[in-house]
Amino acid sequence: MSKRLLKWLFYGALLVGAFTFIYPFLWMLMATLKPEIEVAGLSLIPSKFTLQSYINVFERIPISRAFLNSLLVSSIVTGSVLVFSSITGYTLSRLQFRGREVIFGIILFTMMLPFQITLIPMYVLMVKFGWVNTYQALIVPGMISAFGILVFRQAYKSIPQDLIDSARMDGCSELRIIFQIMWPLTKPTLVTVGIITFMNTWNDVLWPIIVIRKTEMMTMPQTVALFAVGGQADAQMGSILAAATLLAIPVVIAYMIFQRHFIENMATSGLKG
């Protein structure tokens, strides 16, 4: 086979692939702008554009509140994971104390455990704490992550010890060493852990469905999922798709801006979004 023919074959395959990945999203976006009776079917262009599906969503479910809930929960969890995981990562890589390797081993072990094993016990704990239907239930279990600790520990290991020693000599406290020396020196690590934590918290839906039953406390993916399976949508496909589109928009915007970061970070960590 000639080289040129092969090249065209490759481009053909890539274009088919790109079409397969983009067309469904495009179809969804256009379907939300059609009148309800035209939603189904292959055509992309509606006979007339209407925002009725979106109006239905805003009238029937508190989607703005759900958006704010998700934003609040994901932001606090991300900030807290960055602070606590970097402190723990620093401790495990830079301070000498007995039992350090044992503690690190235990943390690694919890990371390898499938989440199914802790799901129900964690829920029972939330009930005992009286945290069902509160922000605490959504935030506290995620405030520190074994994955974050592991990544920070690796990053901090590569910082020269002389730097830390001289900072200590100048009277710098350990916390200041972390936030004013380690953080600026390992910015890409912060971005990696930040993006992955934020995305995982934003997209998680099983845990919120378990611990939140009150409509006004629900996260955005949860609200949209329940809108799709519940009766509030009156089986109107257009409205359900509009809710899904609203859920996708913030992530798509973030993805378009930070595309390179997203791909590299999520791939190096091997985690699903």
Binding site: P24, A40, Q116, W202, V205, P221, A225, A244, Q259
Partner: protein, 242 residues
């Protein structure tokens, strides 16, 4: 609180729904993993060529990975719709018959597996692409001089040298596959006839529809053991194979 000993474990062994959900999850994995690895391998191999706009295609393939599973499931539920769904419209216009994608017990789980592949394959394309780029060019040049064609090179060089990455990809998709929940929850509710009842959905239903917390916790424990066992077998098999 009372101590029930091994009762929960005994109940589990004689619970047909437990075995059904295990079988459903395995059925999902058997379709999902080979499909995902094959497609990801082909796309990664193409993206590894000297082509224009590779960055653009990489970004497009990755798009469904970042978007919430809820969005993807809602979207695909409409694409799979029996009446006027996009897939059936295409089949009809090609002169073929309708497929009951989500209402046939035989097709529903494969349909979910295809959707999950579409959503996640981009992640594995990036992982495999990184693996491909780490194979030295000289190896291929030497093989070309020795007269090996492209297919031979792919089978005898690419696959063996990619083995560690392939292992990672297979283990990650296994672990992710076992966490299948929101897809059947939104798409089928576990039906028809429990044919898409994944293990996670089963645990969820036991705990929150029937309030059997102890039983659900036992299920979670057993499921974790099964995941460990499956991953251990994969590791052993793949490392021996090459």
């Amino acid at each position: 609180m009372t101590w029930v000993g091994g009762t929960n474990f005994l109940n589990l062994i004689s619970d047909p729904l437990f075995w059904k959900s295990l079988w459903n999850t395995l059925r999902f994995l058997i379709i999902h993993i080979p499909l995902q690895v094959a497609i990801a391998l082909v796309l990664a191999e193409i993206l590894n060529q000297q082509l224009r706009a590779r960055g653009f295609f990489r970004a497009v393939f990755f798009l469904p990975v970042v978007i919430s599973g809820v969005v993807v499931t809602i979207l695909w539920k409409q694409l799979y719709a029996s009446e006027n769904g996009v897939f059936n419209e295409v089949l009809l216009s090609l002169g073929l018959g309708r497929v009951e994608w989500l209402t046939s017990p035989l097709v529903a789980m494969p349909a979910i597996a295809i959707m999950a592949t579409w959503k996640n394959v981009g992640l594995y394309v990036i992982l495999l692409l990184a693996g491909l780029q780490s194979i030295p060019k000289q190896v291929y040049e030497a093989a070309t001089i020795d007269g090996a064609n492209r297919v031979q090179q792919f089978l005898k060089i690419t696959i063996p040298m990619l083995n560690p990455v392939l292992l990672t990809v297979i283990i990650l998709s296994t672990i992710n596959g076992f966490s299948l929940f929101i897809e059947p929850y939104v798409m089928t509710g576990g039906g028809p006839l429990n044919s898409t009842l994944s293990m996670n959905l089963f645990i969820y239903k036991q705990a929150f529809s029937f309030y059997k917390m102890g039983y659900a916790a036992t299920l979670g424990f057993v499921m974790a053991a099964i995941i460990f066992a499956v991953v251990a077998v994969q590791r052993k098999f793949i490392e021996k194979e090459f």
